[in-house]
């Protein structure tokens, strides 16, 4: 999560890269890694993340991966000149995450509505929590939808907790 005082422009670690079209497997691996990191796509072959030790290191290794794949990569530290552009970037990233959180909320609600057995609820809960962690790792500007997803998943946890049978080890 990014916390910075308002008025102070964020540093964005920005990767400008080009990977050969063929072979396609390293190109796809790089694309998958960038997607998993939740980068802002600034243009063709230009991605950025708000800078911290973790995001910088991840993009440094991606840059190396690009070079190993026979491409070219340049890492820059960038700031938007206008605050409005920074907000637009953050909002776009936040909207992408919001969509993922909404999907989780719906999945949790569907499970809850199907009156699942304890074991089913436990299995679904485990999967949903794992997916929640995955999304949170690439969530730099948490939208309200995150809290809704967390609440929906916790309600699912309550199903098991409220049932006396669960104390006999039904949950994992």
């Amino acid at each position: 999560m990014v916390t910075k005082h308002s008025g102070e422009a964020l540093d964005w670690v920005t990767l400008i890269y080009r990977v050969p079209r063929e072979p396609s497997s390293p190109r796809i691996a790089i694309w998958r890694k960038l997607r998993a990191l939740g980068v802002a796509q600034l243009g063709d072959g230009v991605v950025a993340l708000p800078e911290d030790a973790r995001t910088r290191e991840h993009l440094e290794w991606v840059a190396d991966q690009v070079i190993e794949a026979g491409g070219s990569a340049l890492l820059l530290r960038a700031q938007t000149l206008a605050r409005k552009d920074e907000r637009a970037l953050a909002h776009a990233m936040s909207r992408s995450r919001a969509e993922e959180y909404r999907d989780l909320t719906n999945r949790a609600a569907e499970v809850a509505q199907a009156s699942p057995s304890l074991a089913e609820a436990a299995r679904a809960l485990k999967r949903l929590r794992k997916d929640l962690r995955t999304i949170q790792k690439r969530d730099y500007f948490p939208p309200a939808e995150r809290d809704h997803a967390v609440a929906a998943i916790n309600r699912l946890a309550d199903i098991g907790a409220a049932d006396p049978v669960s104390t006999q080890g039904g949950r994992t």
Binding site: K33, A36, A53, R54, E57, E60, W61, A63, D64, Q65, I67, R133, K137
Partner: protein, 144 residues
């Protein structure tokens, strides 16, 4: 021998330094640099971009060192799984310890200098090594 890595160390560098000192070079001396150009000429760089002891393919630096030195001990590979997941987070291994160790290291690197982080994490990795050695004593649970 002298070894150099990037300042502001995190789990891959802390664990690799421990691995180097304990299994490769007991007299290892570590220097921390902010720019790759500042690596002393007599030092071996690790966990930096474009060096032999770095990330290669899907491996993090800890795994690269294990491979290059033919360290096949399953206990070390169990620790490698944790380091890999804390560092690369790609779900290649099932290592539930990783997120916990990750935040411990991130917190330490916010409050301590690199030498102190190494001094503090050495015993942590010693402890993990002994802990997993016990659980692997029957040869089960070898990570793949």
């Amino acid at each position: 021998m002298k070894w150099a890595t990037r300042a502001g160390i995190h789990i891959d560098r802390a664990s690799s330094a421990w691995l180097i000192r304990r299994f490769i070079d007991p007299d290892a001396e570590f220097v921390f640099v902010t720019d790759p150009d500042d690596v002393p000429t007599d030092a071996t760089p690790f966990d930096m971009r474009g060096v032999a002891y770095g990330h290669h393919g899907n491996d993090c630096t800890f795994e690269t060192i294990l491979r290059r030195h033919d360290l096949a001990d399953p206990v070390l590979w169990r620790i490698a799984a944790i380091v890999h997941e804390a560092d690369i987070e790609d779900d290649r291994y099932d290592a539930p310890e990783a997120p916990g160790l990750d935040v411990v290291l991130r917190g330490l690197s916010m409050t301590q200098d690199d030498d102190t982080v190494l001094a503090l994490t050495g015993p942590v990795f010693d402890g993990l090594f002994d802990y997993y050695r016990r659980s692997l004593i029957l040869g089960k649970d070898t990570p793949t």
